[in-house]
Symmetry: C2
Subunit: 253 residues, 2 copies
């Protein structure tokens, strides 16, 4: 199993939209996928048409133990889901008091590694212990980036957090990919930021960029990935292309 | 002094863009304004052309005491700024151990209330102790909302947090206004969400909506509010209209 952690503490850059639609695209390419929702807002859970967890279930149980994680198998979307909910806020507080507090998710996913080809982990917009658990459990980091000023500023802080975590815990999370989201080539900021990203990160920058596409914003209100809401939409096709590009890199062509 | 706390735990909805441009618009209307940056990402600080704080300065000092808050007076933008930086992450952790941990910002602003007509508080995308301090210090809550599914979902959680805080601490933060951001009337989701907001919140929903306007995304890379970057842009004029609408409500016409 390869764990891809989708993280960026900058808010609203398309983490959840990427986690849901990448999971659905990988599933359509016959990979078995586990989507893990680490955000107490539970957007990946409701965006997949599922109810938020109450108390010690789903992602709370995966982090705190207790054995009733209740992974949900989604027939139409094609992936399995570890759902989340506001009780994850309590889990974050409880983790602060634990030894090896960044390890619980990694330990949980180790138990699942025979069953899945990929785990995709959606993180909240913060560098808190929920995101830290995601980074520690990840093999590769996927950073969704809007091509805007504030989003670029946050990238350095994220990569700094990753290298500190790797040093402190002996983990080896590598920056696997940066994906440009809500991409609008007509906007000069977009071209400037693209230039900066390609200068600094070279081949980590995926060639596939996800265009701004209203179908991607509509799909979650129907509880579906765009692939099962509007198959031919620009956004849907871009996420399929992105999954193809990642598979090509990770599995070799 | 009237304190307006700009909060929404949903990421990327335009909290910082609203805090900066509302502050500049109120200042242009001859009100004296203090902008407080409570986000460790410090977007309101860099978006105002200022350097992030290091250690115990700015917002860190306002929350933890120590007396070197170093409020910055911005001549061109017209408002004063309490800057922020990544040391605020440490402040959030330290606050957890304090008595009356939601009070520090409110106490700090009480000392400034003779000097300013308005305080505008920019919050991070989380319901953590930084945001809680902002909510406790606020007289009115201003919620920037993107007219999209995930943003609507988070609103109930935010209002629930506010009523719990009010009950527990005897505070009386009221929902002053909801402002629609990145507003695109051609998109059917926008009209559906607008309908929901107007049904549930009636007159708290501001008539002014802020359109999607690239000038608002470009201005922060020059460290300026849009008013001082592109005076006639659609986004600039919308924030002036919004400031007018708020002044009308809060000060009476
Ligand atoms: N390519 C796109 N085109 C149009 N809308 C998009 C696109 N990607 C995301 N969105 C919309 O933009 C908003 C932000 O996206 P999303 O919620 O996925 O970001 P996020 O990084 O997960 O946010 P948070 O920081 O709150 O977790 C959502 O309303 C989503 O529907
Ligand atoms: N009306 C608008 N038109 C175009 N772009 C906008 C508009 N408002 C905000 N933006 C851009 O959208 C992005 C998100 O806005 P902003 O950073 O203000 O949101 P936020 O809620 O403060 O995010 P966070 O949750 O990370 O604090 C920024 O890159 C900003 O420049
Ligand atoms: Mg999200
Ligand atoms: Mg912000």
């Amino acid at each position: 199993m390869y764990s891809l952690v989708v993280a960026n503490q900058k808010g609203g850059v398309g983490k959840t939209t990427t986690a849901i639609n990448l999971s659905a695209s990988l599933a359509a390419m016959k990979r078995s996928v586990l989507l893990v929702d680490l955000d107490p807002q539970a957007n990946a859970t409701t965006g997949s048409g599922q109810k938020k967890i109450e108390g010690n279930e789903g992602a709370f149980s995966a982090l705190m133990g207790g054995g009733n994680t209740n992974i949900v198998s989604l027939d139409e979307a094609g992936y399995d889901l570890v759902p989340s909910g506001s009780s994850l806020i309590t889990a974050e507080t409880n983790l602060r008091l634990k030894e090896n507090r960044e390890m619980p998710l990694s330990t949980f996913l180790d138990q699942k590694k025979e069953k899945y080809d990929y785990a995709v982990i959606d993180c909240p917009p913060a560098l808190n212990l929920l995101t830290i658990n995601g980074l520690r459990a990840g093999d590769g980091l996927l950073v969704p980036m809007q091509c805007e000023y504030f989003a670029l500023e946050g990238l350095a802080a994220l990569l700094e957090t990753v290298s500190q975590l790797n040093e402190r815990t002996g983990h080896d999370l590598r920056l696997e990919a940066i994906v440009r989201t809500m991409f609008d080539p007509r906007n000069k900021l977009t071209l400037q930021v693209t230039q900066e990203l390609s200068n600094h990160f070279g081949e980590a920058l995926l060639s596939t960029a996800i265009p701004r596409n209203v179908k991607l914003a509509e799909a979650p209100s129907f509880g579906k990935p765009a692939l099962h809401y509007e198959t031919g939409a620009k956004g849907t096709l871009a996420y399929l292309a992105m999954a193809g590009e990642l598979i090509n890199r990770l599995e070799g062509s």
